[in-house]
């Protein structure tokens, strides 16, 4: 931590938040709001004289409310920067008549009530998002009585309680009577692995954190009874099993089963009712103190930053990486990387590993001092552009700007364009050409495919990243499917223009399949939402003009779903067989009369 404060190449901005991100890989423009500290960071020596005279006492956030601090304070002893700060909402004010005691005692004159919030603009090439986590608040799990019973603590509160730097100087006491507890219970998976409350995912760290806490208790207070209520103990990491074994050897009891209810007895002990899965019996355990192993939730700022930067989130609310196996630290947007719990629950080792990986990925991009952009981007044909603004609306990367009011044709920022081709597919005026996947190139493929015996063919559009890869995977797995399936590769299903589908039917295709990544997995942020909308639109039109809408199918197939690909192709073949020569001829005649 102190290395960061001292590093000549690190500019540390605390009490600061990113409020806006503009630009693209290599050239981001960041707006940061730095809130006033009211104490000069560079001259404060953290002597603490100010806090001594400050009359305002408030709960201390760092000790999760178990201790207190003043309105002028240092967050904790080892804080970086070490400088004190004033919480302006709590401070009585700088009016000498009211208070200003701190100003009077500060020998170095560091305190400045006139300091104001600053707006800072930074230009950077890459961004590492390491926004971390927020511990799950177990108040809603009323059955455990957190906040109702004083001796029910969260795991973070327990950490502060046994910490030498904490409010009790590391002495484990129970809050209600300040006595040493004779027994401590831990309830696992609080806010984790639950469909109802908290998250349905495993928070990764709570098992080992409890194992660790049990060891700390047993080391300092060997006579204290420790009981852990759990569903599974996940001690999967290097050295973890050893710790777990040590914890059991030192006498910690592990009881399989999550308590159904917690009650407080007259003596302030907790009566825990649990069905022990090993015996199948309902048991009651009386414990002096109860610790809830709280799970992890994404940091509160996650969603706001996601919107500012155009990133994606998983259904759990953590950031979604570009690829879970092959690009686990990259965002889908080039130049942005994830580190730590921002991307999902992690322990310290994993966070550090991912942070180093993110740094490396950023360096890999920056070390040349310039970036090359893949030329598979869209090009505006300005003569045809009507400046309607549709392309800018659908672009997942905000790479297109159109001045709709001034009727100025669209402009593509090629550095920001990732090449999905959704704009070209959505443009009603054919004013966008998608490099390397032009209308002509794709229609040539459609026409050639359907040149001979079109009635036997299954015309399939597949996105490069998922469906086409899924087809490859079916191949690698030697899954056999009908040989009349022919794929046309596009970068994204968002590229599949209406006219490609109509061209297929006009040429006599009995069926057409559009396939792409699952919703939420699109490699172009959310371009496949447009695919979905477009296919729905074509379906409606088909019904209106009298073409069976079943003949156009939309399927999401991931790169790992070889089986799903093969099954889908069999399903397509079944639909194809239901299409008669007469039906095809009728479709062709309908389309030629439009």
């Amino acid at each position: 931590m102190t290395d960061v404060g001292r590093h000549p190449r690190i500019k540390l901005l605390t009490l600061s938040e990113v409020v806006d991100v503009k630009g693209y890989v290599g050239n981001f423009k960041i707006k940061i709001l730095k809130k006033a500290r009211y104490v000069d960071e560079t001259s404060c020596t953290a002597c603490g004289d100010c806090a001594e005279v400050c009359p305002v006492v408030r709960p201390d956030e760092f000790n999760v409310g178990l201790g207190s601090r003043k309105a002028i304070y240092s967050p904790f002893a080892q804080a970086v920067p070490s400088s004190y700060l004033i919480n302006s909402k709590e401070c009585l004010g700088h009016n000498p008549a009211v208070c200003s005691k701190c100003v009077d005692v500060c020998a170095k004159g560091c305190i400045d009530f006139h300091m104001s919030d600053e707006e800072i603009i930074e230009e950077v090439g890459t961004i590492v998002v390491a926004t971390g986590l927020t511990p799950y608040d177990p108040t809603e799990m009323d059955e455990y009585g957190y906040t109702r019973f004083e001796n029910v603590l969260t795991s973070l509160e327990f950490e502060r309680l046994v910490n030498a730097g904490g409010p009790t100087k590391g002495e484990m006491i129970r809050p209600s009577d300040r006595n040493h507890p004779k027994s401590v219970g831990f309830i696992q998976c609080v806010g984790s692995r639950s469909a109802k409350k908290g998250g349905h995912y495993c928070s990764n760290i709570c098992c080992m954190n409890t194992v660790k806490s049990s060891l700390i208790i047993k080391e300092h207070y060997p006579d204290v009874e420790v009981k852990v209520f759990y569903i599974d103990i996940r001690a999967f990491g290097k050295g973890f099993e050893d710790l777990y074994t040590r914890s059991r050897r030192m006498g910690t009891q592990y009881i399989r089963g999550l308590p159904g209810s917690v009650e407080e007895t007259d003596e302030g002990t907790m009566r825990v009712a649990v069905e022990n899965a090993a015996t199948g019996k309902l048991e009651f355990h009386e414990l002096d103190m109860l610790v809830l192993a709280q799970g992890m939730k994404p940091a509160p700022s996650t969603q706001r930053l996601q919107e500012i930067m155009g990133l994606q989130l998983t259904s759990d609310g953590f950031y979604l990486e570009a690829h879970p196996k092959l690009q686990p630290v990259d965002a889908a947007t080039r130049g942005i990387f994830f580190a730590g719990c921002a991307e999902g629950p992690k322990d310290i080792k994993e966070s550090v590993t991912q942070a180093s990986a993110a740094a490396m990925r950023a360096i890999r991009l920056m070390h040349k001092g310039e970036i090359t952009s893949e030329p598979i981007t869209s090009t505006i044909i300005t003569e045809k552009c009507k400046a309607c603004g549709k392309c800018a609306d659908v672009c997942p990367y905000n790479a297109i700007s159109v001045d709709v009011k001034a009727k100025k044709p669209a402009v593509v920022n090629t550095a920001a364009c990732a090449g999905c081709g959704t704009c070209a597919a959505e443009c009603r005026f054919d004013a966008i050409s998608m490099n390397h996947f032009t209308d002509t190139q794709i229609i040539n493929q459609v026409d050639t495919m359907l040149d001979e015996a079109p009635e036997n063919k299954i015309l399939t559009f597949a996105c490069n990243w998922c469906s086409y890869a899924g087809a490859d995977y079916a191949g690698v797995s030697r899954l056999q499917y009908p040989a009349n399936v022919h794929l046309i590769r596009v970068m994204c299903s968002g590229r599949v223009d209406e006219k490609f589908v109509w061209e297929g039917f006009r040429k006599g295709a009995p069926v057409v399949l559009v396939s792409g990544c699952h919703i939420g997995d699109c490699h172009y942020i959310d371009a496949n939402h447009w695919t979905e909308k477009r296919v729905a639109r074509i379906h409606k039109k088909m019904e209106r003009i009298g073409i069976r809408s079943e003949r156009l199918q939309l399927e999401w197939i991931s790169a790992a779903e070889g089986i799903r690909f093969a099954e889908t192709m069999k399903k397509m073949e079944a639909i194809r067989q239901s299409v008669t020569a007469e039906e095809i001829a009728e479709t062709q005649s309908i389309l030629s009369n439009l």
């Binding site: 390491a130 590391g170 360096i363 970036i371 493929q445």
Partner: protein, 209 residues
């Protein structure tokens, strides 16, 4: 390898396309269910095809050498490689044609292995017919390809790290130690994050700060 001088400028322009088609056997991977010779012969008559042949391993050194020599000798300006998935070897063949002066984007690959021979192993006739169609589709696509050029843009050698917990600290230090400027933004008054609040940390059981 020395770069042979191309006899013709790279693709595009107004002259008629000069397409070379290579149907790869991939040993027996493709050849066991696709009649590669027949596929190559069928493509010969397609518009713009100057040369069409089957080849045992297109990606091998002798295979690549043969294709490169043809590009020079026959003045090919675009190439169809009918072999494995482009997701596997497209970069290989892009480099190959680039090395003899063709624009790397003047290439298309017909996927005869993952999406044909391996998935229609029982029916050689159907697999071969499909291969013929796939190759002809590639020829039709490659006929209209245009050369593309990568653009080089300036870049700011600086990173913004959002969040000063253990991950943000590590990323900032790694970057700064490697010579890059870093701005570390933390919303709290101190860095350290949740890690700093933890007493001892597993698996080493030492303190967190």
């Amino acid at each position: 390898m020395s770069k042979p001088t191309p006899t013709k400028p790279s693709g595009g322009g107004d002259q008629d396309p000069r397409i070379g088609v290579y149907v790869c056997h991939c040993g027996l991977n493709i050849a066991q269910s696709v009649d590669c010779k027949r596929v190559a012969q069928k493509a010969e008559s397609e518009k713009g095809v100057v040369l069409s042949k089957d080849i045992v391993y297109a990606c091998s050194e002798p295979g690549q050498q043969e294709i490169k020599q043809d590009i020079i000798d026959k003045g090919l300006d675009r190439v169809v490689i009918a072999s494995c998935s482009p997701r596997l070897h497209e970069p290989t063949f892009k480099k190959m044609i680039d090395s003899v002066g063709l624009n790397p984007y003047m290439l298309d690959m017909a996927n005869l292995r993952e999406q044909c021979s391996w998935v229609h192993m029982e029916d050689k006739e159907s697999a071969t017919q499909k291969a013929e169609t796939l190759v002809n589709m590639s020829v039709a696509r490659v006929r209209d390809l245009e050369p593309l050029y990568e653009e080089t843009l300036p870049l700011t050698k600086k990173t913004l790290v959002i969040g000063g917990g253990v991950a943000g600290i590590q990323a900032a230090l790694d970057l700064a130690d490697s010579g890059y400027e870093v701005t570390l933004v933390e919303k709290n008054p101190s860095i350290g994050g949740v890690m700093a609040q933890i007493d001892k940390t597993f698996p080493t059981m030492d303190c967190s700060i």
